[in-house]
Symmetry: none
Subunit: 224 residues, 2 copies
Protein backbone atom coordinates (compact mmCIF):
# COMPACT_ATOMS: atom_id res chain seq x y z
CA UNK A 1 0.00 0.00 0.00
CA UNK A 2 2.63 2.48 1.11
CA UNK A 3 4.75 1.51 -1.85
CA UNK A 4 2.37 2.89 -4.37
CA UNK A 5 1.97 6.31 -2.89
CA UNK A 6 5.04 7.79 -1.18
CA UNK A 7 6.65 7.88 -4.61
CA UNK A 8 4.35 10.55 -5.91
CA UNK A 9 5.41 12.87 -3.08
CA UNK A 10 9.09 12.71 -3.94
CA UNK A 11 9.80 14.59 -7.16
CA UNK A 12 13.13 12.87 -7.65
CA UNK A 13 11.65 9.37 -7.61
CA UNK A 14 12.30 8.57 -11.24
CA UNK A 15 15.90 9.62 -11.01
CA UNK A 16 17.05 7.37 -8.21
CA UNK A 17 18.24 3.77 -8.27
CA UNK A 18 16.20 0.72 -7.31
CA UNK A 19 18.28 0.30 -4.16
CA UNK A 20 17.61 3.89 -3.16
CA UNK A 21 13.90 3.38 -3.81
CA UNK A 22 13.95 0.36 -1.54
CA UNK A 23 15.53 2.39 1.24
CA UNK A 24 12.94 5.17 0.95
CA UNK A 25 10.15 2.62 0.95
CA UNK A 26 10.66 2.42 4.69
CA UNK A 27 8.53 5.57 4.79
CA UNK A 28 5.34 5.20 6.80
CA UNK A 29 2.15 7.15 7.11
CA UNK A 30 1.64 8.90 10.42
CA UNK A 31 -1.10 11.08 11.80
CA UNK A 32 -0.79 13.88 14.29
CA UNK A 33 -3.76 15.52 15.96
CA UNK A 34 -4.08 19.28 15.85
CA UNK A 35 -1.84 20.99 18.37
CA UNK A 36 0.61 18.18 18.91
CA UNK A 37 4.31 18.92 19.10
CA UNK A 38 5.92 16.58 16.62
CA UNK A 39 9.55 17.40 17.03
CA UNK A 40 11.54 19.62 19.34
CA UNK A 41 15.17 20.58 18.70
CA UNK A 42 18.05 18.27 18.08
CA UNK A 43 17.08 15.83 20.76
CA UNK A 44 14.00 14.92 18.89
CA UNK A 45 15.22 14.20 15.42
CA UNK A 46 12.46 11.94 14.23
CA UNK A 47 12.79 12.08 10.47
CA UNK A 48 11.60 13.90 7.38
CA UNK A 49 7.93 14.55 7.06
CA UNK A 50 6.09 14.95 3.79
CA UNK A 51 2.73 16.57 4.32
CA UNK A 52 -0.16 14.57 2.88
CA UNK A 53 -2.86 16.75 4.42
CA UNK A 54 -3.11 19.32 7.18
CA UNK A 55 -0.53 21.92 8.17
CA UNK A 56 2.75 22.01 10.03
CA UNK A 57 4.28 24.99 11.75
CA UNK A 58 8.01 25.41 12.25
CA UNK A 59 8.93 27.75 15.06
CA UNK A 60 11.79 28.62 17.32
CA UNK A 61 11.86 29.62 20.95
CA UNK A 62 13.11 33.12 21.58
CA UNK A 63 15.34 33.78 24.54
CA UNK A 64 12.48 35.00 26.59
CA UNK A 65 10.53 31.83 25.95
CA UNK A 66 8.15 33.15 23.34
CA UNK A 67 7.68 31.10 20.18
CA UNK A 68 8.38 32.70 16.83
CA UNK A 69 6.72 31.19 13.79
CA UNK A 70 9.19 30.72 10.98
CA UNK A 71 7.52 28.63 8.33
CA UNK A 72 4.31 26.87 7.54
CA UNK A 73 4.27 23.65 5.57
CA UNK A 74 1.27 22.60 3.55
CA UNK A 75 0.34 19.66 1.38
CA UNK A 76 3.32 18.13 -0.45
CA UNK A 77 5.81 20.30 1.41
CA UNK A 78 8.74 18.48 2.88
CA UNK A 79 9.73 19.20 6.45
CA UNK A 80 13.46 18.93 7.08
CA UNK A 81 13.16 20.53 10.48
CA UNK A 82 12.08 17.37 12.20
CA UNK A 83 15.36 15.88 10.97
CA UNK A 84 17.86 18.58 11.80
CA UNK A 85 20.38 16.07 13.11
CA UNK A 86 21.14 15.40 9.43
CA UNK A 87 22.62 18.88 9.27
CA UNK A 88 25.59 19.75 11.42
CA UNK A 89 24.88 23.44 11.12
CA UNK A 90 21.36 23.75 12.41
CA UNK A 91 21.73 24.51 16.06
CA UNK A 92 18.53 26.34 16.68
CA UNK A 93 15.86 24.77 18.75
CA UNK A 94 13.32 24.33 16.05
CA UNK A 95 9.90 23.08 16.96
CA UNK A 96 7.53 21.36 14.57
CA UNK A 97 3.87 21.42 15.51
CA UNK A 98 0.74 20.18 13.80
CA UNK A 99 -1.46 23.22 13.36
CA UNK A 100 -4.31 21.08 12.11
CA UNK A 101 -4.96 17.37 12.12
CA UNK A 102 -2.10 16.38 9.89
CA UNK A 103 -1.17 13.28 7.97
CA UNK A 104 2.37 12.82 6.75
CA UNK A 105 4.77 10.42 5.18
CA UNK A 106 7.45 9.84 7.73
CA UNK A 107 10.88 9.04 6.29
CA UNK A 108 13.37 7.82 8.89
CA UNK A 109 16.50 9.94 9.30
CA UNK A 110 18.83 7.03 8.60
CA UNK A 111 17.03 6.19 5.36
CA UNK A 112 17.04 9.71 3.98
CA UNK A 113 20.60 10.35 5.07
CA UNK A 114 21.82 7.19 3.39
CA UNK A 115 20.13 8.05 0.10
CA UNK A 116 21.21 11.68 0.24
CA UNK A 117 24.82 10.74 0.82
CA UNK A 118 25.02 8.57 -2.25
CA UNK A 119 22.62 10.26 -4.63
CA UNK A 120 23.59 13.61 -6.14
CA UNK A 121 20.00 13.96 -7.32
CA UNK A 122 18.57 13.69 -3.82
CA UNK A 123 21.30 15.87 -2.36
CA UNK A 124 20.63 18.57 -4.95
CA UNK A 125 16.94 18.32 -4.27
CA UNK A 126 17.63 18.83 -0.58
CA UNK A 127 19.86 21.83 -1.27
CA UNK A 128 17.06 23.34 -3.29
CA UNK A 129 14.61 22.74 -0.44
CA UNK A 130 16.96 24.36 2.01
CA UNK A 131 17.45 27.27 -0.38
CA UNK A 132 13.71 27.78 -0.56
CA UNK A 133 13.46 27.81 3.22
CA UNK A 134 16.32 30.29 3.35
CA UNK A 135 14.48 32.43 0.86
CA UNK A 136 11.30 32.28 2.96
CA UNK A 137 13.29 33.44 5.95
CA UNK A 138 14.66 36.42 4.06
CA UNK A 139 11.14 37.38 3.12
CA UNK A 140 9.92 36.95 6.67
CA UNK A 141 12.76 39.05 8.00
CA UNK A 142 11.78 41.76 5.60
CA UNK A 143 8.20 41.63 6.85
CA UNK A 144 9.22 41.65 10.48
CA UNK A 145 11.59 44.56 10.05
CA UNK A 146 9.14 46.59 8.03
CA UNK A 147 6.35 45.76 10.37
CA UNK A 148 8.20 47.71 12.97
CA UNK A 149 6.94 50.72 11.15
CA UNK A 150 3.37 50.08 12.27
CA UNK A 151 4.23 50.30 15.94
CA UNK A 152 6.57 53.23 15.40
CA UNK A 153 3.92 55.08 13.48
CA UNK A 154 1.24 54.32 16.07
CA UNK A 155 3.49 55.49 18.89
CA UNK A 156 4.35 58.66 17.00
CA UNK A 157 0.71 59.51 16.38
CA UNK A 158 -0.17 58.99 20.03
CA UNK A 159 2.72 61.09 21.26
CA UNK A 160 1.96 63.94 18.91
CA UNK A 161 -1.68 63.86 19.87
CA UNK A 162 -0.78 64.03 23.54
CA UNK A 163 1.73 66.83 23.00
CA UNK A 164 -0.78 68.89 21.08
CA UNK A 165 -3.64 68.00 23.37
CA UNK A 166 -5.92 67.14 20.49
CA UNK A 167 -7.08 64.12 18.59
CA UNK A 168 -5.84 65.27 15.26
CA UNK A 169 -2.33 65.63 14.03
CA UNK A 170 -1.73 68.44 11.64
CA UNK A 171 1.15 67.09 9.65
CA UNK A 172 1.56 65.90 6.13
CA UNK A 173 2.54 62.33 5.36
CA UNK A 174 5.81 63.72 4.07
CA UNK A 175 6.56 65.29 7.45
CA UNK A 176 5.66 62.15 9.36
CA UNK A 177 7.84 60.08 7.09
CA UNK A 178 10.67 62.48 7.76
CA UNK A 179 10.26 62.11 11.53
CA UNK A 180 10.22 58.34 11.26
CA UNK A 181 13.14 58.17 8.87
CA UNK A 182 10.95 56.47 6.32
CA UNK A 183 9.60 57.20 2.87
CA UNK A 184 6.31 58.98 2.21
CA UNK A 185 4.97 56.07 0.15
CA UNK A 186 5.54 53.68 3.01
CA UNK A 187 3.93 55.89 5.63
CA UNK A 188 1.09 56.57 3.25
CA UNK A 189 0.40 52.88 2.78
CA UNK A 190 0.60 52.20 6.49
CA UNK A 191 -1.83 55.03 7.21
CA UNK A 192 -4.17 53.58 4.63
CA UNK A 193 -3.96 50.31 6.52
CA UNK A 194 -4.64 52.08 9.83
CA UNK A 195 -7.62 53.73 8.20
CA UNK A 196 -8.97 50.41 6.92
CA UNK A 197 -8.67 49.13 10.46
CA UNK A 198 -10.63 52.09 11.77
CA UNK A 199 -7.75 53.46 13.82
CA UNK A 200 -7.34 56.79 12.06
CA UNK A 201 -8.89 58.87 9.33
CA UNK A 202 -6.71 60.76 6.93
CA UNK A 203 -8.04 64.17 6.18
CA UNK A 204 -6.60 67.00 4.18
CA UNK A 205 -3.31 67.96 5.84
CA UNK A 206 -4.13 66.10 9.03
CA UNK A 207 -4.70 62.69 10.59
CA UNK A 208 -7.51 62.13 13.02
CA UNK A 209 -7.12 59.43 15.68
CA UNK A 210 -10.28 57.33 15.95
CA UNK A 211 -9.28 54.39 18.11
CA UNK A 212 -6.56 55.23 20.60
CA UNK A 213 -6.77 51.88 22.30
CA UNK A 214 -5.99 49.99 19.11
CA UNK A 215 -3.19 52.43 18.39
CA UNK A 216 -1.76 51.89 21.83
CA UNK A 217 -1.89 48.15 21.28
CA UNK A 218 -0.16 48.50 17.95
CA UNK A 219 2.52 50.71 19.51
CA UNK A 220 3.17 48.13 22.21
CA UNK A 221 2.81 44.93 20.30
CA UNK A 222 5.88 43.00 19.39
CA UNK A 223 6.71 42.62 15.78
CA UNK A 224 5.02 39.62 14.37
CA UNK B 1 49.68 28.98 -9.33
CA UNK B 2 45.93 28.95 -8.84
CA UNK B 3 45.96 25.18 -9.02
CA UNK B 4 47.85 24.76 -5.83
CA UNK B 5 45.71 26.94 -3.65
CA UNK B 6 41.97 26.92 -4.41
CA UNK B 7 41.97 23.31 -3.29
CA UNK B 8 42.68 24.16 0.32
CA UNK B 9 39.55 26.32 0.42
CA UNK B 10 37.22 23.53 -0.64
CA UNK B 11 36.84 20.98 2.16
CA UNK B 12 35.50 18.34 -0.20
CA UNK B 13 38.54 18.44 -2.47
CA UNK B 14 39.86 15.00 -1.61
CA UNK B 15 36.50 13.39 -2.19
CA UNK B 16 35.89 14.47 -5.76
CA UNK B 17 37.07 12.96 -9.04
CA UNK B 18 39.92 14.21 -11.18
CA UNK B 19 37.46 15.44 -13.80
CA UNK B 20 35.58 17.41 -11.16
CA UNK B 21 38.83 18.87 -9.90
CA UNK B 22 39.66 19.97 -13.42
CA UNK B 23 36.33 21.75 -13.70
CA UNK B 24 36.79 23.59 -10.41
CA UNK B 25 40.29 24.62 -11.42
CA UNK B 26 38.64 27.24 -13.57
CA UNK B 27 38.41 29.23 -10.32
CA UNK B 28 40.23 32.52 -10.43
CA UNK B 29 41.40 35.01 -7.86
CA UNK B 30 39.57 38.30 -7.87
CA UNK B 31 39.87 41.43 -5.82
CA UNK B 32 37.16 43.85 -4.89
CA UNK B 33 37.84 47.22 -3.31
CA UNK B 34 36.03 48.15 -0.12
CA UNK B 35 32.48 49.29 -0.76
CA UNK B 36 32.02 47.70 -4.16
CA UNK B 37 28.77 45.94 -4.97
CA UNK B 38 29.80 42.53 -6.25
CA UNK B 39 26.49 41.00 -7.09
CA UNK B 40 22.93 42.20 -7.12
CA UNK B 41 19.94 39.85 -7.35
CA UNK B 42 19.31 37.24 -9.98
CA UNK B 43 20.40 39.41 -12.84
CA UNK B 44 23.89 39.42 -11.57
CA UNK B 45 24.69 35.81 -10.96
CA UNK B 46 28.44 35.93 -11.18
CA UNK B 47 29.51 32.78 -9.40
CA UNK B 48 30.51 31.41 -6.04
CA UNK B 49 33.01 33.35 -4.02
CA UNK B 50 35.34 31.87 -1.47
CA UNK B 51 36.74 34.55 0.78
CA UNK B 52 40.53 34.59 0.93
CA UNK B 53 40.75 37.83 2.90
CA UNK B 54 38.48 40.74 3.72
CA UNK B 55 34.77 40.66 4.40
CA UNK B 56 31.58 40.29 2.38
CA UNK B 57 28.15 41.45 3.40
CA UNK B 58 24.97 39.81 2.16
CA UNK B 59 21.94 42.05 2.38
CA UNK B 60 18.47 42.45 0.98
CA UNK B 61 16.53 45.55 0.15
CA UNK B 62 13.50 46.10 2.33
CA UNK B 63 10.32 47.42 0.86
CA UNK B 64 11.11 50.90 1.97
CA UNK B 65 14.43 50.85 0.20
CA UNK B 66 16.56 50.32 3.25
CA UNK B 67 19.16 47.57 3.17
CA UNK B 68 18.97 44.81 5.75
CA UNK B 69 22.19 42.99 6.57
CA UNK B 70 21.63 39.26 6.62
CA UNK B 71 25.01 37.65 6.77
CA UNK B 72 28.66 38.45 6.89
CA UNK B 73 31.22 36.21 5.27
CA UNK B 74 34.75 36.09 6.51
CA UNK B 75 37.90 34.24 5.54
CA UNK B 76 37.20 30.77 4.13
CA UNK B 77 33.45 31.32 4.08
CA UNK B 78 31.76 30.44 0.83
CA UNK B 79 29.30 32.87 -0.66
CA UNK B 80 26.45 31.19 -2.53
CA UNK B 81 24.52 34.44 -2.78
CA UNK B 82 26.44 35.72 -5.73
CA UNK B 83 25.30 32.56 -7.54
CA UNK B 84 21.64 32.40 -6.67
CA UNK B 85 20.68 31.47 -10.22
CA UNK B 86 21.86 27.98 -9.29
CA UNK B 87 18.87 27.77 -6.96
CA UNK B 88 15.40 28.01 -8.41
CA UNK B 89 13.96 28.98 -5.05
CA UNK B 90 15.92 32.05 -4.11
CA UNK B 91 13.88 34.93 -5.38
CA UNK B 92 14.99 37.61 -3.01
CA UNK B 93 17.08 40.45 -4.29
CA UNK B 94 20.20 39.62 -2.43
CA UNK B 95 23.11 41.99 -2.62
CA UNK B 96 26.71 41.04 -2.01
CA UNK B 97 29.05 43.87 -1.11
CA UNK B 98 32.72 44.00 -0.18
CA UNK B 99 32.83 45.60 3.25
CA UNK B 100 36.59 45.73 3.17
CA UNK B 101 39.13 45.27 0.44
CA UNK B 102 38.38 41.67 -0.30
CA UNK B 103 40.13 38.92 -2.19
CA UNK B 104 38.22 35.85 -3.25
CA UNK B 105 38.37 32.72 -5.29
CA UNK B 106 35.74 33.11 -7.95
CA UNK B 107 34.17 29.85 -9.13
CA UNK B 108 32.05 30.25 -12.27
CA UNK B 109 28.39 29.29 -11.91
CA UNK B 110 28.55 26.78 -14.74
CA UNK B 111 31.57 25.02 -13.21
CA UNK B 112 30.08 24.69 -9.74
CA UNK B 113 26.69 23.68 -11.04
CA UNK B 114 28.19 20.98 -13.20
CA UNK B 115 30.16 19.50 -10.33
CA UNK B 116 27.27 19.79 -7.89
CA UNK B 117 24.92 18.00 -10.24
CA UNK B 118 27.13 14.99 -10.58
CA UNK B 119 28.81 14.83 -7.19
CA UNK B 120 26.76 13.83 -4.15
CA UNK B 121 29.66 14.98 -1.99
CA UNK B 122 29.60 18.52 -3.36
CA UNK B 123 25.80 18.65 -3.32
CA UNK B 124 25.73 17.53 0.31
CA UNK B 125 28.38 20.07 1.17
CA UNK B 126 26.23 22.75 -0.46
CA UNK B 127 23.15 21.61 1.45
CA UNK B 128 25.11 21.88 4.65
CA UNK B 129 26.24 25.40 3.72
CA UNK B 130 22.68 26.40 2.97
CA UNK B 131 21.56 24.85 6.27
CA UNK B 132 24.14 26.91 8.13
CA UNK B 133 22.91 30.09 6.44
CA UNK B 134 19.35 29.11 7.30
CA UNK B 135 20.41 28.62 10.89
CA UNK B 136 22.08 32.05 10.95
CA UNK B 137 18.87 33.57 9.68
CA UNK B 138 16.85 31.93 12.43
CA UNK B 139 19.28 33.33 14.94
CA UNK B 140 19.15 36.79 13.41
CA UNK B 141 15.36 36.71 13.32
CA UNK B 142 15.34 35.86 16.98
CA UNK B 143 17.63 38.81 17.69
CA UNK B 144 15.60 41.20 15.58
CA UNK B 145 12.36 40.18 17.20
CA UNK B 146 13.71 40.23 20.69
CA UNK B 147 15.90 43.20 19.83
CA UNK B 148 17.18 43.36 23.30
CA UNK B 149 20.33 41.42 23.89
CA UNK B 150 22.32 43.26 21.25
CA UNK B 151 21.53 46.67 22.66
CA UNK B 152 21.84 45.44 26.23
CA UNK B 153 25.23 43.91 25.48
CA UNK B 154 26.44 47.02 23.65
CA UNK B 155 25.28 49.24 26.51
CA UNK B 156 26.95 46.96 29.03
CA UNK B 157 30.27 46.99 27.21
CA UNK B 158 30.23 50.78 26.93
CA UNK B 159 29.37 51.23 30.59
CA UNK B 160 32.05 48.85 31.74
CA UNK B 161 34.60 50.52 29.53
CA UNK B 162 33.70 53.90 30.94
CA UNK B 163 33.75 52.64 34.50
CA UNK B 164 37.18 51.13 34.07
CA UNK B 165 38.46 54.02 32.00
CA UNK B 166 39.88 51.73 29.37
CA UNK B 167 38.90 50.34 26.00
CA UNK B 168 39.08 46.75 27.03
CA UNK B 169 36.80 44.81 29.31
CA UNK B 170 38.47 42.16 31.35
CA UNK B 171 35.62 39.75 31.82
CA UNK B 172 34.87 36.31 30.54
CA UNK B 173 31.84 35.65 28.37
CA UNK B 174 30.48 33.64 31.28
CA UNK B 175 30.64 36.67 33.56
CA UNK B 176 29.05 38.96 31.01
CA UNK B 177 26.25 36.46 30.43
CA UNK B 178 25.70 36.35 34.17
CA UNK B 179 25.39 40.14 34.35
CA UNK B 180 22.94 40.20 31.47
CA UNK B 181 20.90 37.29 32.75
CA UNK B 182 21.63 35.37 29.59
CA UNK B 183 23.46 32.20 28.61
CA UNK B 184 27.14 32.09 27.74
CA UNK B 185 26.41 30.58 24.31
CA UNK B 186 24.08 33.44 23.49
CA UNK B 187 26.51 36.14 24.58
CA UNK B 188 29.29 34.32 22.79
CA UNK B 189 27.39 34.29 19.54
CA UNK B 190 26.44 37.92 19.87
CA UNK B 191 30.06 38.88 20.52
CA UNK B 192 31.02 36.94 17.42
CA UNK B 193 28.47 38.99 15.52
CA UNK B 194 29.83 42.22 17.01
CA UNK B 195 33.29 41.10 15.98
CA UNK B 196 32.19 40.39 12.42
CA UNK B 197 30.74 43.88 12.41
CA UNK B 198 34.07 45.30 13.49
CA UNK B 199 32.71 46.66 16.75
CA UNK B 200 34.81 44.59 19.16
CA UNK B 201 37.62 42.11 19.17
CA UNK B 202 37.52 39.15 21.50
CA UNK B 203 40.86 38.44 23.04
CA UNK B 204 41.87 36.01 25.67
CA UNK B 205 39.90 36.88 28.80
CA UNK B 206 38.95 40.29 27.53
CA UNK B 207 36.96 42.17 24.93
CA UNK B 208 38.42 45.17 23.18
CA UNK B 209 36.06 47.88 21.95
CA UNK B 210 36.97 48.92 18.43
CA UNK B 211 34.08 51.07 17.32
CA UNK B 212 32.43 52.89 20.17
CA UNK B 213 30.20 54.88 17.88
CA UNK B 214 28.66 51.76 16.36
CA UNK B 215 28.28 50.29 19.84
CA UNK B 216 26.52 53.43 20.99
CA UNK B 217 24.22 53.21 18.00
CA UNK B 218 23.51 49.57 18.78
CA UNK B 219 22.84 50.37 22.41
CA UNK B 220 20.31 52.94 21.30
CA UNK B 221 18.66 51.14 18.47
CA UNK B 222 18.90 47.47 17.90
CA UNK B 223 20.04 45.01 15.33
CA UNK B 224 18.59 45.09 11.94
Amino acid sequence: MNRTTVESYLPFWNKITETEKEILHTAEKRSYPKGSVISYGEENCIGLLVVISGRLRVSTVAEEGREISLLRLLERDICLFSATCIFRSIQSDLIVTAEEDTQVWHIPVSAYKKVMEQSAVVANYTTELMASYFSDMVWLMDQVINKKLDSRLAAFLLEESELEGQEQIEMTQEQIAHYLGSAREVVSRMLKYFQQEGMVRSERGCIRLLDQERLRETARESLR
